[in-house]
């Protein structure tokens, strides 16, 4: 754990997450190329870009799964995330939903959420862990929120693709991170579900910083937030959805196709 007083109240945080000059290549291919992005506390940000633009790789770098070749990744102005691993970063308050929904299939919906519930990460704590009433209620609330109340004791393996997305969003939510990285949440969802997800993320962003990667333009429009367009590993355009979608370069590489 970092000993930097990242939560000292006296300090005003200017950016919750900042990437500057980040480069990462795989076998000579630059998946991320001199990428700089700045997310403010409480900001909701949408990231769009064609397949292979480096969106998921960017999330890998923020969450410690991939180490960048060069560049800085800073959390709350002071913490250098490149020096920490996944578990550390998760415990500092950065949560993540994968592009391919990843839930624990051999556990029930309820148990999945219990696993994600904030706190209790050490071996001894988990071995002697007893759920208290507040926590049980919190899990039940989240199950209701993601609309899986009837299935609470079903194995996650039996959920549809869209329901797994919901469960994973629920897990992310109950983990109570300060920053949520959400990779393509609307995959496998119906149009209505997609809109509900967008509204849910907007609501979450009242209290947290949220970064969403999504291809679905209606979804992005519903989010109604600043949009960053990634292309070949760096920022191509940034601004409101209307600004970026009228940018000729963006139209050329992405929207026009």
């Amino acid at each position: 754990m970092s000993h930097t007083p990242i939560n000292s109240p006296s300090r005003k945080i200017t950016s919750i997450l900042q990437l500057s000059g980040v480069t990462k290549s795989f076998d000579g291919f630059k998946a991320i190329n001199n990428l700089s992005i700045d997310i403010k506390p409480g900001e909701l940000r949408a990231i769009i870009g064609p397949n292979g633009a480096g969106k998921s790789t960017m999330m890998d770098i923020i969450t410690g799964k991939t180490k960048p070749d060069t560049g800085e990744v800073t959390f709350k102005d002071v913490v250098d995330l490149t020096k920490h691993d996944e578990a550390d970063i998760a415990n500092m308050g950065i949560g993540r939903k994968f592009q391919k929904p990843t839930v624990i299939e051999t556990l029930t919906i309820w148990q999945n959420l219990e696993l994600a519930l904030a706190g209790h990460r050490s071996i001894l704590q988990t071995l002697f862990w007893r759920l208290n009433n507040d926590q049980a209620k919190r899990i039940d609330d989240v199950i209701a929120l993601i609309g899986l109340a009837e299935k609470r004791d079903d194995l996650a393996a039996n959920l549809s693709h869209g329901q797994k997305q919901w469960l994973e969003i629920g897990m992310l939510f109950i983990q109570e991170p300060e920053v949520l990285l959400v990779d393509e949440p609307a995959g496998g969802m119906t149009d209505t579900e997609t809109m509900v997800t967008a509204r849910l993320l907007k609501e979450i962003s009242q209290r947290h910083s949220v970064i969403v990667v999504e291809h679905d333009m209606d979804f992005v429009r519903e989010l109604d937030c600043k949009v960053t367009v990634l292309h070949e590993g760096s920022v191509l355009a940034e601004g409101s959805l209307d600004t970026v979608s009228s940018n000729p370069r963006v139209v050329e590489v992405y929207l026009g196709r």
Binding site: A87, A90, I123, M171
Partner: protein, 434 residues
């Protein structure tokens, strides 16, 4: 009243586990009673030889349980658990060697025979302390535990997983086998440690000692089972399963995967060490062949047969395979490895209880074949026997659902009949030979 006990809670959703544990408990009580109270010619008398054989199977069951904890619940396929078993066994063997005192062939009170033979003048430093039983017991757990800790720490920290991990565990046990083969390593080389006389002052060959060792083995399996249940029922158990099913998800939830893996791996190694320590006084020898990489693979087959990730399956698998193995290594030793391979394949393809029934029935069918051959005075052909054995196994596994519905009650009595038949065949067979 029952409902409040810890044990009740641990076994609440584990019907098969309750049955297996009750059976173990019954064995633990009834076998010694039968051995001591019934006259030797009684049908229900369990001879001391069988008591020890059962004790040996129970040590294997404990070992299988240890493997199932790491493999079944945390997805760590260790192909080196034989090493931890062997180390626990050696630690116990060293104590037993020191108990021999001047009763060895060379009558040297300070040095075990093999050291005298090698012209060593004094006990190597790493043998000191082993004259104390308590010290040996600590070492039984500490040595496998520390090895597992160091090995696991390096491997898990560098994120060595899957088949790569399995391969290096094979290398570990192979390296230990080579080391223990060396005379200069100081553990008796090739011959290992043997000729034990007594344990805690009790004659190791005595009936009472053997019974106590058997009971201890059964007791340890029960205790270890409950311990494993306690772990997998806790949230820690669910973290282990999440590591098994989606390792990176667990990391992003903030769980330190390498710590969890290290924890179960070390615990499992300690259990394996205890199994080895109970095994050695019962079989009376420990030598480097215990580290043979094939042994470690066999443990995986026991667990796979009984059903990975069930705990009780590990116990059933270990006992059934070893029971059948002792039959085959008597009747057709050259075929055992083929049989083992067949069991593994069938267990993997048809993961059902029919495989277990099939394994037992294959021994029954083989004995019937052997019996008929002996009666009509022809040679027992190992290939034909293998054909019958594997055929039975295959049919039972494949048509299990059918059998299950129609005739399970009848099938369960077959092993008993088979046992009686086997006794008859083996005796008549040896009579023919002599």
């Amino acid at each position: 009243m029952m409902k409040n006990t810890v044990i009740y809670k641990l076994l609440q959703n584990d019907k098969a586990g309750r049955i297996v544990l009750s059976a173990l408990f019954a064995l633990m009580v009834l076998v010694p009673l039968s051995n001591m109270l019934l006259p030797p010619d009684s049908f229900l008398h369990v001879p001391t030889y069988t008591v020890t054989l059962l004790g040996k199977y129970l040590c294997y069951a404990l070992l299988a349980l240890a493997l199932d904890l790491v493999w079944g619940y945390c997805g760590i396929l260790s192909l080196g658990h034989g090493a931890f078993f062997g180390l626990g066994g050696y630690a116990m063997g060293m104590y037993l060697m020191r108990q021999i005192g001047d009763r060895g062939q060379y009558g040297n009170a300070d040095l075990p025979d093999f050291m005298v033979f090698l012209n060593w003048q004094e006990l190597p430093w790493y043998w000191s302390g082993f004259e104390s039983f308590t010290f040996a017991l600590v070492m039984v757990m500490l040595v496998p535990g520390i090895l597992a800790f160091l090995f696991g720490w390096l491997a898990f920290r560098s994120r060595v997983t899957g088949v790569y991990f399995s391969i290096i565990t094979q290398a570990l046990t192979y390296a230990l086998m080579q080391a223990f083969f060396l005379n200069d390593f100081g553990f008796g080389g090739n011959n290992g440690l043997t000729d034990f006389k007594d344990i805690l002052g009790f004659d190791i060959q005595a009936n009472g000692t053997r019974i106590v060792l058997f009971m201890l083995s059964a007791f340890m399996v029960i205790v270890a089972y409950l311990l494993c249940r306690f772990i997998i029922q806790s949230k820690l158990g669910r973290v282990l399963m999440s590591i098994r099913d989606a390792e990176s998800r667990s990391r992003f939830l903030g769980y330190r995967v390498e710590h969890y893996k290290l924890f179960v791996f070390v615990l499992s190694a300690v259990l394996a060490g205890i199994a080895g320590a109970l095994f050695v006084p019962q079989v009376g020898i420990i030598n480097p062949s215990e580290f043979n990489p094939v042994n470690s693979i066999e443990i995986v087959i026991w667990v796979a047969l009984g059903g990975r990730g069930t705990l009780y399956g590990a116990i059933i698998g270990a006992v059934v395979v070893n029971y059948v193995k002792s039959f085959y290594t008597g009747a057709m030793p050259e075929m055992w490895l083929f049989m083992l391979g067949g069991i593994f394949v069938v267990a993997t393809v048809y993961a059902n209880a029919g495989v277990i029934i099939g394994v037992i029935l294959s021994a029954v069918v083989s004995s019937i074949y052997a019996g008929i051959s002996t009666l009509i005075g022809s040679e027992i052909n190992p290939f034909v026997m293998l054909f019958f054995a594997l055929g039975t196994l295959y049919i039972c596994a494949k048509y299990f659902d059918f059998f299950w519905q129609k005739s399970l009650p009848f099938l369960t009595t077959l092993p008993l009949i088979g046992n009686v038949l086997k006794e008859k065949v083996v005796t008549s067979h040896s009579e023919v030979k002599s």
